[in-house]
């Protein structure tokens, strides 16, 4: 197991170099004047300035390989560079924005998994009967609604009409306490930090801000989990040991809970890894709609402004995350399912 993990980690730098190299290759198609648009965000800022001065100042006239080597050299010194679009060093931007997204993903993963499994179980239990059809269609509608549509509708209902769940990460009053008061940021996760600081009011406030984006994410992902749960449940339900259990005269409920569901959840456990990744990487739209300042929004804005230091930094980070999470998932898989051996 240890060798397996070590071996997988050995490939980490290979993948990361591949990722960054690809970005640089892509960037080499861009002219210095396209890249300088990071610093001049709109036509109105053109004024009486020399584009060439800016190009020279930020070293954009250097050939791509020189920039890559420079970037690599800085990286080895632990410097990811400065992001013009985020107004801060890339490392700091990631450190600040990532916890927000983690918080969102953590809060989302519970309803996503529970709801998805529940729907999948219903579907499987009522295979090809109305309840199956209903829950599948319900989930597919969520899957096929663009996230901004559902997000905006939720925002309208729960904020616009009911006034319950406002956008942003914190209310104004809580924000000023967190930013300027004597509030220690331990983790960057507002809920956790609030509890650690003994501020239940801020905890509730941040939960209030999380509910609507979490609902949006949950509805999006249910279809995915439903499908996996349903098909693995169906598979397990036809297994001999389940028939035996039924034949023994166990009640349907016991059969379902003890024999079917438990075994059907193994594939679900494996996809949850990729789901966590999907949640971390795919929250751009939800973050936009709910003005939730997380890493997805950061990277998307950066990419749109061709802020390539930021894009490089975040992709490097995502690559690292992806490899690690996949590794954890594989190891967990082996732990959950005794049939699996790591090779």
């Amino acid at each position: 197991m240890i060798t397996y993990i070590a071996r997988r980690l050995l490939f980490l730098p290979v993948v990361l170099i591949g990722v960054t190299l690809m970005i640089f290759v892509a960037m080499s198609f861009l002219t210095p004047y396209q890249l300088v648009s990071t610093y001049i965000k709109s036509p109105e800022e053109l004024k009486n300035q020399s584009l060439d001065d800016l190009v020279r100042k930020y070293g954009l006239d250097q050939p791509v390989h020189v920039r890559y080597i420079n970037w690599m050299r800085n990286l080895l010194r632990g410097d990811l560079g400065y992001s013009a679009s985020a107004n801060m060093p890339v490392a700091e931007a990631i450190a600040r924005r990532f916890p927000a997204t983690v918080e969102l993903a953590l809060f989302a993963i519970v309803p996503v998994i529970l709801g998805g499994i529940w729907l999948g179980t219903i579907s499987a239990k009522h295979y090809n009967r109305p309840l199956d059809h209903f829950s599948r269609v319900f989930a597919i509608v969520g899957w096929s609604l663009p996230d901004f549509v559902f997000g905006l509708i939720l925002l309208m209902v729960f904020y616009g009409v009911l006034g319950w769940f406002p956008p942003g990460r914190l209310s104004m009053w809580a924000d000023s306490i967190v930013l300027t008061g004597d509030f220690t940021r331990f983790t960057g996760l507002n809920t956790l930090d609030a509890l650690l600081n003994g501020r239940p009011d801020i905890f509730w406030d941040s939960v209030r801000h999380l509910i609507a984006p979490v609902m949006t994410l949950a509805y999006l992902w249910w279809a995915y989990l439903l499908r996996i749960t349903r098909s693995s449940m169906l598979e397990v339900m036809n297994k001999d040991y389940v028939r035996t259990a039924r034949a023994k005269g166990l009640t349907e409920r016991v059969v379902m809970n003890r024999h079917v569901r438990r075994n059907a959840l193994i594939p679900v456990a494996t996809v949850s890894g990729s789901m966590v990744l999907g949640l971390l990487g795919g929250v751009v739209i939800v973050e936009t709609v709910f003005d939730y300042k997380g890493i997805g929004l950061l990277t998307a804005t950066g990419a749109q402004q061709l802020d390539y230091t930021l894009v490089l930094g975040t992709t490097l980070f995502y690559g690292l995350l992806l490899v690690l999470i996949n590794l954890v998932v594989d190891v967990l898989y082996a732990v959950i399912d005794p049939r699996v051996r790591l090779e």
């Binding site: 060798t3 070590a6 071996r7 050995l10």
Partner: protein, 342 residues
């Protein structure tokens, strides 16, 4: 039994070895080898059936596949006598020799592509060997199916519509399609019901006569082999431990392992109460075989010498009965009286 004692040799295997590397560590360094087949030499005579037996994992299937070059042997020479001369079987010649050597697989369920029709399965080797005309191919398929006892009306069906025995007949038809001289039968009946086993064995016997085939017949128990084979090879942990005429080997085995295997054959006569020898312990790992005679930890006759020296395979009686045991001459091992049922 038409058993030529001597005769023309068809296949000559010398010093065949197949090692699988064992890798370890993050860099996948090779730290050792599983010696699946270790220094195996034997010859198959034209027209005979050479049985190969041994427990699961003894390397007999690996040996069969290596001879067929379906896996690459690590070392050794394999020569085939074709058209009056010897041709070495290697990566280069194997494509040309496919029509001389064919194989029947163990599992009739997995050896037929579930998404192909029977006629295409059987005709595929023909097509691969340049029979371009589709009608001719199908004519040949009809003949072959006929020969293995399946009507040509089965041609358009898919494998899942057949029983295990029928499928194995299809597998045989496919093996015969190229008119091979040698057919490696890799446990062709072990996956079948006992009643069907006999039918297939009889079919193989008939076909041998009809087409003048030579069989290398791999099986894991001696009872199957005794009916069909002329000579038998017993393998243990990748090595040949005993080899000889079927009669001599069954009646007077020269290796304790063979004795143990023989004792496990149920006697058709319920009155005969044979002593069943229960082998002690498990088959040792081929990656780390015991020193000396590989069989010694399980051998009830084992001596000090067995723990140190690897016994040579020697002709014990001078009449082609080989055994690899230091005490082959000294031990008086129990065989079975051969029930002439075949």
């Amino acid at each position: 039994m038409t058993t030529p004692n001597t005769g023309e040799i068809l296949l000559d295997v010398q010093g065949l070895r197949k090692y699988f590397p064992i890798t370890k560590g993050i860099f996948r360094r090779t730290v050792g080898h599983v010696k699946a087949v270790e220094n195996v030499s034997f010859q198959v005579r034209k027209g005979e059936t050479l049985g190969v037996v041994g427990e699961s994992g003894c390397g007999k299937t690996t040996m069969g596949l290596s001879i067929m070059h379906l896996i690459q042997p690590t070392q050794g020479t394999i020569r085939l006598h074709v058209d009056g001369s010897w041709t070495e079987v290697n990566e280069k010649t194997i494509r040309r020799l496919r029509d001389k050597m064919q194989i029947v697989f163990q599992d009739p369920f997995s050896s037929l592509n579930p998404r192909m029709r029977i006629r295409d399965i059987v005709a595929e080797p023909l097509q691969a060997h340049g029979m371009k005309n589709r009608r001719k191919r199908y004519e040949r398929v009809e003949e072959l199916l006929d020969a293995v006892g399946l009507g040509s009306h089965h041609m358009n069906r898919f494998p899942h519509e057949f029983s295990g025995g029928q499928r194995q007949r299809i597998g045989i038809a496919r093996a015969l399609s190229l008119n091979p001289s040698l057919v490696v039968c890799d446990e062709p009946v072990s996956a079948l019901d006992v009643s069907v086993q006999a039918q297939v064995l009889n079919l193989l016997d008939d076909l041998q006569e009809e087409f003048g085939l030579t069989y290398l017949f791999i099986a894991h128990d001696l009872s199957v082999v005794q009916h069909i084979s002329d000579r038998v090879i017993v393998m243990y942990l990748g090595r040949i431990v005993e080899m000889g005429e079927v009669g001599s080997l069954f009646s007077s085995p020269k290796h304790p392992y063979t004795e143990a295997l023989l004792s496990a054959i149920p006697d058709p006569d319920p009155d005969v109460v044979g002593e069943q020898i229960i082998l002690q312990g498990d088959v040792p790992s081929p990656a780390d075989p015991p020193p000396g005679c590989h069989f010694h930890p399980r051998c009830r006759y084992a001596q000090e010498r067995c723990r140190r020296e690897i016994p040579e395979l020697v002709d014990v009686d001078g009449k082609g009965h080989f055994a690899a045991c230091h005490y082959a001459q000294d031990l008086n091992l129990t065989g079975v009286s051969r029930a002439e049922t075949a």
